[in-house]
């Protein structure tokens, strides 16, 4: 990994742990193994490092914003996969996806950095909402909608069904980001959540 990439990597780690304003350029440089002035040969300012990270995030959008997607870009194909899963397989899949978004270093650090930074910046706020709220809801809405069409799930209001599926996952994820000790409990809750969701919206539920 070249120096420029190492700078971005260490900066992302530090920004995600302490927030932009609490990280010093000298700190980033130290972790990379150079002195602060050398860093200015690679980036013209601290802000430029942050901007480069945000650009990188938007470019890698599919990798990280494909939150809770199986393939991430084809709801029809993904629905076909879901369709044939047993409840146990579905739970296992859900757990694995949850663990991926919780632990994948790239995804996790960006989420934490953006969570903090998005509070003071309108543009970043929009990025946050898109990646962690709107896009997951939209994708899962398609997925669950297809399953309703197939007769696998039953719901009058697909939008609300999607909210009921995703909101608990969003809440568990933000809880674990703030307190990693909650992870074990969160995975158990996730399992129960998927079971209950299946029970409520699955074949046996009377939708009125």
């Amino acid at each position: 990994m070249d120096t420029k990439s190492r700078i971005l990597d260490e900066a992302l780690t530090l920004f995600s742990e302490k927030g932009y304003a609490n990280v010093f350029v000298s700190e980033i440089a130290e972790r990379v193994g150079i002195k602060a002035p050398s860093l200015y040969k690679h980036f013209e300012s601290k802000q430029a490092i942050f901007d480069a990270l945000i650009r990188e995030m938007n470019n890698n959008f599919l990798k990280q914003a494909g939150m809770l997607h199986i393939q991430g870009n084809d709801a029809v194909r993904d629905a076909a996969i879901y369709k044939n899963l047993t409840e146990e397989q579905l739970i296992s899949l859900g757990k694995n996806l949850f663990m991926y978004f919780l632990h994948d270093d790239y995804v996790r650090r960006f989420r934490k950095m953006l969570t903090m930074a998005a509070y003071h910046d309108k543009e970043l706020s929009e990025a946050y909402m898109k990646h962690y709220v709107d896009d997951p809801l939209s994708y899962q809405g398609m997925l669950l909608g297809l399953m309703v069409q197939e007769g696998i799930l039953h719901a009058e209001d697909t939008e609300m069904m999607t909210l009921h599926f995703y909101a608990p996952i969003y809440m568990l994820l933000t809880a674990c980001d703030r307190d990693p000790a909650r992870e074990k409990g969160a995975v158990e809750i996730l399992e129960k959540h998927i079971r209950q969701f299946n029970r409520l919206y699955g074949r046996k539920t009377d939708p009125r």
Copy 2:
């Protein structure tokens, strides 16, 4: 309002808008209408202002952490109130509570300040989880549990039912905090959410 209280008030506003590190003592002083050095007659440091705010928050815990409570401290009495509400009245109540937590200046500013600050500080992180996740879930769990006992709601797993009720509200609240333009849509979604929740867990639902 005396100067000391005005300092706390303006500091809370600024901290909630920009985050602790991005607020200068001189900025707080200016809003109060004094010069920065005068401020040090009231607080010995910038950190002392923040600490005082956190103490105030913990003291006023009931006022703001009673998130989505009716009375806020007596689940049995509150359950008795809920029991006799029609769906329309319940929705109206839910909307009003949501608007209160979204708009009440004191509650809103603390929530935003804590959301940011809680990422770098373990103690604050615990306070955040307690006030915005654990306590609401625990209180609403009692409330909904009582309604299950009364036969008003039906659920095998009350904990999951509570999660299904609260997680969407939590998600809508954080979404509106980040982007106030979403408020109108959020209230509509809230209404649909409560209706669907009623439908799923109300008398007519077959819980197996």
